[in-house]
């Protein structure tokens, strides 16, 4: 595939043109990421009335509450307009992992794990917060950590 990058003329708007006979899944995913302002490296998040591009490595976890999805960093809480399943899909090949019906965690933000009753675990994050890992998501976590079947 040929990739051409041109510098726009002064005053001209930035533009991405994709010329393909047939759009495959990878390119569609890429288009969606570009449109949504989401990539492996940064994510467009809302704080008060402003939109900020936040590096994804700074996000500790995403939490869905009352049909709203929030992203937590060490010092801030942002809102995202994306659904949790969309974030899960977008960050599927990164260090983020779904750990319950309402949360996605950055594995690199977990300091240690401890047992909660009935097969659940508590993930203690590096910022001191604790979040629950539901039992149904433990096999996937183990797999990601290289100890699962």
């Amino acid at each position: 595939m040929k990739i051409t990058i041109e510098t726009p003329m002064p005053g001209e708007e930035d533009e991405i043109i994709i010329k393909m006979a047939e759009l495959n899944d990878e390119v569609l995913k890429l288009v969606r990421r570009l449109k949504d302002g989401v990539s492996k490296d940064t994510m467009a998040l809302y704080a008060d009335e402003s939109i900020q591009m936040v590096p994804t490595r700074e996000i500790l976890y995403f939490d869905a509450t009352d049909n709203r999805v929030f992203a937590y960093t060490r010092g801030n809480c942002y809102e995202t307009r994306k659904k949790l399943f969309e974030i899960e899909e977008l960050l599927s090949d990164s260090s983020f992992l779904r750990i319950s019906k309402n949360a996605i965690v950055n594995i690199r933000a977990i300091d240690h794990l401890s047992p909660e009753f009935n097969g659940r675990f508590i993930a203690s994050l590096r910022n001191g917060e604790d979040i629950i890992i539901s039992r149904g998501y433990v096999p996937e976590l183990k797999k990601k950590l290289g100890i699962g079947k």
Partner: protein, 140 residues
């Protein structure tokens, strides 16, 4: 629903083992053991494991605080005592007296402790294994 029945089976096996252990220790006092006690133990195990499965199926969004955990544990223990006292009086396991009730409370506490310890140790090993794997993951 499948998870519920898997949990029920798991708790049944653990609780039944613990009750058997307590009964095994208790029967040293007697010269004979009655055959009916086996299905009676199964019945008690089923009733208590059902309650335990329901209690542990509570799925909070955030980890529970220590006071809430203690309250839940005490409530669970009281319900288990009530079940065993009810079934115990039905099966003539003990005399309906203060000393009989105290024996039941002590036996339930022993089963509760053994069960909680087994469950905790199993989960602790798993948590430690994942924490170690996490350290390796972060080093990569």
């Amino acid at each position: 629903m499948k998870t519920f029945f898997t949990d029920l089976l798991k708790w049944f096996v653990i609780i039944n083992t613990a009750i058997m252990l307590v009964v095994w220790i208790s029967i040293f006092r007697y010269d004979t053991i009655w055959v009916e006690i086996i299905p009676q133990i199964f019945c008690a195990s089923l009733a208590t494991s059902l309650v335990t499965t329901i209690v542990f199926s509570i799925n909070p969004k955030k980890p529970m605080g220590v006071p809430v955990r203690i309250l839940l544990g005490v409530g669970h223990y009281i319900v288990l005592c009530a079940i065993i006292m009810g079934l115990g009086s039905l099966f003539n396991w003990f005399e309906l007296s203060l000393s009989g009730a105290l024996t039941v409370a002590g036996s339930v506490a022993a089963v509760y402790f053994i069960t909680a310890l087994i469950s905790y140790l199993l989960s602790k090993n798993e948590a430690d294994e994942m924490t170690n794997a996490l350290k390796n993951f972060n080093e990569d």
